[in-house]
């Protein structure tokens, strides 16, 4: 340890080639398992150069200990509430606090059993406001584009903007808005593709990507229980 400089007892950052072939400091920064607006238990171990993720490894903590009881699968938890919840998280990470606050309020109203007739209007108004924003497409287009393969869950296809608009449009559609919770969840697939989607992204984009994939770590415990 003689030659190594120490800052507060912690070794200085090592170095590695970056995407342009320059040798830069490399930091090991874990994202999660606890962060605001982040799927609980998800850990993305990143190698950062500046704020660019060179490498990402994904794991989910605590699956073995969970009871296989997913919040969104309990009775009285319609998909509508989950879409509002996912939209709220994505809008908050995108820095639109007010639109996120409205979505959270509507989600709570759905969960406490506000009648459909009463809440349909406010949800439509909120959806129109989100779809009318011209900044949002400019900021989210092309962010978190997932590979277009047969295995890609239809609910997660496209980029962050497509996914947000899909939630917003489904919420406005009276037919889908009463849908029961979805057991065929995209989370296991999303956890698998996450490292490859995150590599080469900036921290800001990475947070948007994770929020836009609507990862529900509870669902992994359910899948685990199904497999035995």
């Amino acid at each position: 340890m003689d030659g190594m400089q120490l800052a507060g007892g912690v070794p200085m950052a090592g170095r590695a080639d970056d995407r342009d072939g320059l040798t830069l400091d490399q930091l090991h920064v874990p994202l999660g398992p606890l962060l605001p607006l982040w799927p609980p238990g998800l850990v993305v171990r990143t190698k950062l150069q500046g704020d660019v993720i060179q490498q990402a490894a994904v794991e989910v903590l605590g699956i073995g200990d969970a009871r296989g009881d997913a919040f969104w699968l309990r009775p009285g938890r319609p998909l509508k509430a989950r879409w509002l919840d996912a939209s709220a998280a994505l809008l908050a990470i995108a820095g639109w606090a007010d639109a996120a606050a409205v979505a959270r309020r509507l989600r709570d109203q759905v969960l406490t059993g506000t009648p459909q007739a009463e809440i349909a209007g406010p949800i439509r108004r909120w959806g129109r406001q989100v779809r009318r924003s011209r900044t949002l497409p400019w900021l989210l287009t092309g962010v978190g584009q997932v590979p277009d393969k047969p295995s890609t869950p239809r609910a997660l296809a496209g980029d962050a903007l497509t996914r947000l608009y899909r939630w917003v449009d489904s919420l406005a559609d009276p037919k889908t808005s009463v849908a029961p919770p979805d057991v065929a969840d995209g989370t296991p697939w999303a956890v698998d593709v996450l490292p490859s989607v995150l590599e080469g992204c900036e921290l800001a984009t990475a947070r948007l990507i994770v929020a836009s994939l609507d990862l529900d770590t509870d669902m992994l415990t359910v899948c685990e229980a199904h497999h035995g």
Binding site: G8, D51, W138
Partner: protein, 306 residues
């Protein structure tokens, strides 16, 4: 004419402070209304409540922090934000009537770059540092258009003295024949005070970025400095583009206050309506749209002046 007053040195921080508290209260009220809080009026007191909380909060420490620079950051930001308003006239009084007042204002708000970056650097935290560098990148995006806009107003008056710029607007406010410059000025004020939608340096995706590890009094001073910087920027819009204290009926000092309050409220309101603009997108629009637009505006003004 603008006369300088010595006692203004004592009054200026008070006025700026009151405006800053008012702006923070207005911001908190808007947030509470969006969240559907039952009594949004009591939300107006939220900034004062959290300020009181920060005063008694114990400081959080981080490993191997650069304590001196970290603590200094908030003070530097607050002092620079107050000093920026030294040349802003309140009606016909100003604390300092410098011959290069516009340059002074510009220099003081650039000190904020150092302050924000130091706050991010000092904590020795990855998220703080990311936030600090985001602000430096943001500076690259907004500073050039901002300077061209200041130059445009100075060109219109043929002087860098703020009093001369006000005097040149006796017949026609600059906002009327320099609308592009005015709009870009307002944008750059939001950006220099890293207020929404240009709050990427302190945004929630990096757990508060520059603010991530700041706590207690240090956090209070830094956040106060940020609000005062926004106030200083809004206040300077009045002599630069809105005719200073000129207006019917009311005395000119009151007109200055009214116009400042309106600009400030508009900035806070508009900032909440747009999602955070990430650096790479801001850089793009700044260099491709804002810089050419402000240069054309400056060219137009120069031709008119000639």
């Amino acid at each position: 004419m603008v006369e300088t007053t010595a006692w203004g040195v004592l009054l200026l921080p008070v006025i700026l402070g009151l405006f800053a508290v008012g702006a923070a209260a207005f911001d908190a009220t808007l947030a509470a209304r969006a969240a559907g809080v039952a009594a949004p009026r009591s939300a107006a007191l939220a900034p004062l409540r959290s300020a009181a909380g920060l005063l008694v909060q114990q400081r959080r420490r981080t490993l191997a922090a650069d304590t001196l620079l970290w603590r200094a950051a908030g003070m530097v930001l607050l002092v620079a934000a107050v000093l920026a308003s030294l040349v802003t006239p309140l009606g016909q009084w100003a604390v300092g009537d410098l011959s290069a007042g516009v340059v002074w204002f510009n220099a003081m708000e650039i000190v904020a770059w150092a302050a924000v970056w130091l706050a991010g650097w000092g904590a020795n935290s990855a998220f703080g540092l990311v936030g600090g560098y985001r602000f430096v990148a943001q500076g690259l995006a907004y500073e050039l258009p901002h300077m061209f806009v200041l130059t445009t107003a100075a060109l219109g008056a043929g002087s860098l003295r703020v009093a001369d710029i006000v005097a040149a607007q006796q017949d026609l406010w600059f906002v009327v024949w320099m609308p592009v410059a005015f709009a870009v000025y307002l944008l750059s004020v939001l950006a220099m005070a890293f207020a929404g939608p240009f709050n990427h340096a302190v945004s929630s995706d990096v757990a508060g970025g520059v603010l991530a590890e700041l706590s207690g009094v240090d956090r209070l001073v830094f956040v106060a400095g940020r609000w005062v910087l926004l106030v200083s920027g809004a206040a300077m819009a009045v002599p630069l583009f809105l005719g200073g204290g000129s207006g019917p009926l009311l005395p000119d000092w009151l007109w200055t206050l009214v116009k400042t309050a309106l600009v400030l409220a508009a900035l806070v309101w508009a900032g909440r309506r747009v999602p955070t603009i990430r650096m790479e997108r801001f850089e793009e629009i700044s260099w491709m749209v804002l810089i050419p637009a402000t240069l054309l505006q400056a060219l137009f003004v120069s031709l008119v002046v000639i």
